[in-house]
């Protein structure tokens, strides 16, 4: 009897302690995040809608309306982060504003500015922060007429008309989705004055408290979808990560064999698969599908295609010359010392622009030049500085060169090493010739050496070295890229479940004790 009574009067501090422990422990203990989060239909609806906003067709923007106070930030911030990542990954112009809550303005700005740095997005071109304006109904209605009427300037005081992105975005006609993150019922304004007045699709990210209240609007399709609290954030995070931020390993097994691992799945791929897919940016998808289907390889290559589709937006590539022909490539936080062939392969994967490849080539040719000259002068390569070169130029000029000009084999080798498709070969040729000329101009400013002679000297040597290099390419190499994004909501899920279970248990204990003691008293 005493037991049951005591069970009904547990001190509140014990309850606090149990709850605290059950929140903290799962957060610390979860080393590996839950890999599968089944998305509720309401979440999936928003994701699919954003997927259907075409950045290449009519460039439609996404408005994110930050209408929450700091008090509910932990629930809504992860939701907003996930949606901002999605917009950035898909190159959707992003407009961020606040109207119902003045205090949340800078939470939104902080999120977007931080993620923009991560994604190399340019202010005014890829995203715009509009800040806050008073008037609720007047803001939502006003944006439907003319965005600039409501927000003559952005958050930083720039005129909207001066921002390149806003040139083609006038009102809701140019907006593919309004995402409203709110701890109140401000989604109502967007529905009544945005959707029903102008037809702009509206999605809401809300705290769990108001989830049940949104169903009337969801049922009537006046809202296209909903992110429900932290759970909704976790679901959206997962959808975005699976589509755009996979962990990948590319293993070069041999001359014509790759093993590509996307998250946990492994695919075999050959040179053609990889290069073809890498060049899909020049082909349209239908073409590629045709080619691959003809060779019966579509099944195998499709996941890879999807992956490549997703990655170019998100990676930061820093290339540094670390002496001789080695380059150091930093992909996000990873540092990879690579040689030329590997570099070019990476360049292919990450869709690095031609100008960067050009720079890389130039750096390398400079290195080669030093090496060649060093050999000719019979001194250590490491000692060859620009000054030494300059001093010895005349000496070289005195010597007789009996080297035959082999342009074609050289360029073939380069093209081979470049793994470029035929149409790019010409470009590579031009790039290299230009690079050579530049090297000669820089390295021999005083020498009166004709272009053709210098090229003659260099190209043969270059040829030999490149041949060796292209063999070197075939050694085993592994390139691994980890996507390090913090999945705030996903990480919270185990703790959320644990805490909910403990509350359910406490309610049951309270009830059992209540009924047992009442019956006994009777």
């Amino acid at each position: 009897m005493k037991f049951w009574e005591r069970l009904g009067s547990i001190d509140r501090r014990i309850i606090y302690l149990v709850l605290a422990v059950l929140v903290i422990v799962p957060l610390i203990a979860t080393v590996k995040l839950p890999s599968k989060v089944r998305a509720m239909p309401r979440t999936k609806d928003i994701f699919d809608h954003v997927e259907a906003i075409d950045p290449n067709g009519q460039r439609k923007a996404m408005i994110l309306s930050v209408d929450f106070d700091p008090q509910v930030e932990p629930e809504l911030k992860p939701q907003m982060e996930a949606m901002v990542r999605h917009a950035f990954a898909r190159d959707i112009p992003l407009i961020v504003l606040a109207m119902a809550s003045i205090q949340g303005t800078d939470i939104g700005n902080e999120i977007v500015l931080r993620l923009a740095r991560e994604h190399n997005k340019v202010y005014g071109k890829d995203y715009v922060l509009l800040g806050w304006k008073p008037g609720l109904v007047a803001v939502v209605l006003g944006l439907g007429n003319f965005i600039e009427q409501v927000f003559p300037t952005d958050y930083f005081g720039n005129r909207l008309s001066e921002l390149p992105m806003m040139q083609d975005i006038t009102n809701y006609n140019d907006v593919g989705l309004v995402g409203n993150f709110t701890g109140s019922s401000s989604y109502g304004y967007w529905v009544i004055y945005g959707y029903n007045e102008f037809g702009v699709p509206v999605a809401a990210g809300v705290t769990s408290v108001s989830v049940a209240d949104l169903y009337p609007y969801l049922g009537s399709k006046q809202l296209i979808g909903m992110l429900a609290g932290m759970k909704g954030a976790a679901e959206y995070e997962r959808l975005v990560k699976d589509r755009y931020y996979p962990n990948i390993d590319i293993e070069l097994l041999g001359p014509n064999a790759f093993k590509v691992t996307v998250d946990e799945q492994t695919y075999d791929a050959d040179d053609d698969d990889v290069t073809n897919l890498a060049h899909r940016f020049k082909l349209n998808e239908a073409n590629l599908r045709q080619i691959l289907e003809k060779e019966n390889r579509f099944e195998k290559a499709l996941p890879l295609l999807e992956f490549l589709d997703a990655t170019p937006y998100t990676r930061q590539l820093i290339v540094e010359d670390i002496g001789k022909r080695f380059l150091e490539v930093k992909i996000e936080k990873q540092e990879l010392p690579v040689d030329r062939a590997e570099m070019l392969m990476l360049a292919d994967f990450y869709s690095v622009s031609a100008s960067i490849i050009d720079t890389i080539l130039r750096v390398e040719v400079q290195g080669l030049l030093k090496e060649v000259l060093g050999a000719k002068l019979q001194i250590q390569t490491a000692d060859v500085t620009d000054l030494v070169i300059e001093e010895k130029v005349s000496e070289i000029m005195d010597k007789e060169f009996s080297i035959i000009f082999h342009q074609t084999p050289l360029l073939d080798t380069i093209a081979d090493t470049l793994i470029l498709e035929p149409s790019s070969e010409e470009k590579a040729r031009q790039n290299l010739e230009q690079a050579l000329k530049e090297v000669i101009r820089v390295s021999y400013p005083e020498a009166e050496i004709s272009d053709s002679l210098a090229r003659e000297v260099l190209s043969t040597e270059l040829n030999d070295i490149l041949k060796v290099k292209s063999k070197g390419r075939k050694r085993e190499t592994e390139v691994s890229v980890e996507r390090d994004i913090f999945l705030r909501g996903t990480q919270a899920l185990p703790a959320l479940s644990a805490a909910l279970i403990v509350i359910i248990v406490f309610v049951i204990i309270g009830n059992v004790s209540f009924f047992v003691t009442r019956r006994r008293k009777k």
Partner: protein, 213 residues
């Protein structure tokens, strides 16, 4: 040097603020009180700064005084009437901007709320024959939904003390309402816990580096 916690002193301030707020769990104490009042002050100060830089200056003062759109003197003067709140003798004048705002708001909202919240909602509640195509369940749920809506409405409009023909219907209404409130309660619990987790995440990750950063 790699310390096992943050060395950014602003993170420490944020952590101290967080702990000060949690101190209420032990009992009401001066530290909590100070933290609470700092928040209220900061929030208002923040609001004022944003109001000036985002609203007053760019949409009211600059167009009027710098760009010379003289017609805007009218809304500007109406806005100025809010200041009469501070002057006891003229404080009745503050009713004018409030009256205008309410009048405008009501006039704008009536037709639009009717369309969006009543017309659309009622239309979405109708049971249509195509709901029974394929599987019968969507149709059955739609019928239950419609009955539930009618019962809930009747609970609000006819739950007077005196018994009428609709009294049993409104009793069904309460069943639906209670399920609705129960769902909201469950979700509220989840909401509060999510907020707690968010703060614990901050303490363990950004401050103490226990969760790898």
């Amino acid at each position: 040097m790699n310390l096992p916690f943050s060395t950014d002193w602003w993170v420490w301030i944020a952590a101290i603020c967080t702990l000060a707020m949690f101190s209420i769990l032990y009992r009401d104490n001066p530290i909590y009180r100070v933290a609470e009042h700092i928040f209220v002050g900061l929030a208002l100060g923040y609001g004022l700064s944003i109001t000036w830089h985002q609203a007053l200056w760019p949409i009211a003062l600059r167009p009027l005084f710098v760009e010379g759109q003289l017609i805007l003197i009218i809304p500007f003067c109406i806005g100025l009437l809010f200041f009469t709140r501070i002057i006891p003798k003229l404080s009745w004048l503050v009713r004018i901007p409030i009256a205008l705002a309410l009048g405008w708001g009501s006039g704008v909202s009536i037709p639009r709320v009717f369309r969006a919240s009543i017309f659309h909602q009622m239309k979405a509640s109708l049971v249509r024959p195509e709901m029974f195509e394929g599987s019968v369940w969507p149709g059955i749920w739609a019928i239950i939904l419609l009955l539930g809506i009618l019962a809930t409405l009747s609970y609000f409009f006819f739950s007077r003390k005196e018994k009428g023909p609709l009294t049993p219907v409104s009793k069904v209404g309460i069943v639906f309402i209670m399920i609705g409130f129960g769902a909201t309660f469950g979700l509220t619990v989840m909401s509060r816990i999510s907020l707690l987790i968010g703060r614990v995440q901050f303490l363990l990750r950004d401050w103490l580096y226990i969760i790898p950063k």
